[in-house]
Point group: C2
Amino acid sequence: MSNPKKKQLLETGKSLFWKYGFKRVTIEEICAEANVSKMTYYKYFSNKMELVKAIMEKMLTNSMEKYKSIMNSDVPFTEKIEKQLQMKMEGTMDISSEFIDDLMIHGEPEMMEYMNEMTQKVLGIIYQDYVNAQRRGEIRKDVKPEFIIYFLNHLYDMIKDENLLKMYENPNEMAMELTRFFFYGIANRDKSPIG
Amino acid sequence: MSNPKKKQLLETGKSLFWKYGFKRVTIEEICAEANVSKMTYYKYFSNKMELVKAIMEKMLTNSMEKYKSIMNSDVPFTEKIEKQLQMKMEGTMDISSEFIDDLMIHGEPEMMEYMNEMTQKVLGIIYQDYVNAQRRGEIRKDVKPEFIIYFLNHLYDMIKDENLLKMYENPNEMAMELTRFFFYGIANRDKSPIG
DNA sequence: TAATATTTTACGAAAAAAGTAAAATAAAAC
DNA sequence: GTTTTATTTTACTTTTTTCGTAAAATATTA
């Protein structure tokens, strides 16, 4: 990041959004905390959502970078999955529940659209990874790649399902469960057909 | 608490205030979360501050009850102090930092006044305890009771001092330090003149 | 059924936040 | 040291949110 003022805004924004969710945080509050004037804020971001997006984007970029480095490493597929479950879900992708609440439950239409774009983008990359994995015989050959995409899309819907969310202590736990299910099905993991 | 609706409001209010501080929480939000209509809210509390006060009062009552039960127990004075340091400061008196921030830094004049009233009330009780303790020889005889009050009042001011606050990880830690200092001075605790 | 409590709807008033323009300062580049 | 560029300050208008209330509808209890 070249600009120090912009960087300050991104960092302060993130820390405040993480604590309170972005609905409760005002632009002026961010500016005050970041020691940046409101005018300068509007120079870089035309409104609050743009800052949210920028923060998301940055986070996603970091996240994807780590994801790729795992996927490109030379270890068995299952091991890659393990690493991702541990790292990506709870580590790098550490979205606070306050943030998720604002994002999902209080779903601003503009934000939802942006989220979908992002998701599609990410899915595209993940999709290719799974196609490759399939070619190398790392996952079952009799699974249609289309089904993978379909299911991943539904995973996204499930995350928004409050009834499902209730079953877990926090969104993270739910995400872990869904991902585990996605890769291993309900079969005993030790006897998984993947290997 | 007789009324279930009122109770709901107090509980939901507390949990939301504790998380976000009362500035960020709206009355309608509390109502929605508590499954109480806005009209019913205004039946019991004429505005947001009244709810805050009620919550504070309840908390303070519980707190004072425990305080008294310790002070009336038949153990050495130092032991009482120890118990209070442990329990009252971090346990029962568990005011969240978000709440304190709203209370102190963004000091609403109305709220400050209320806090002062409360403090005076509490100080009165504590003062008597110290007078009694002094009579029984549990604390130094050459300390003026007036000084105790004076210092306790200043303790309150110190808590508001941002520069002092910065020195500690959280307000609780600072409060502990101040209280310890108040009772033991800077002398080595094992060789304390109190006993 | 009558009396009471609670919610819904709908609204106007007040307060807070968003967003903008122009002048004043500060920082950097020349 | 002057000019350019970036940032802040001030002071405002507009928009949005929140507050608080009234009256009618619904639910609860006696």
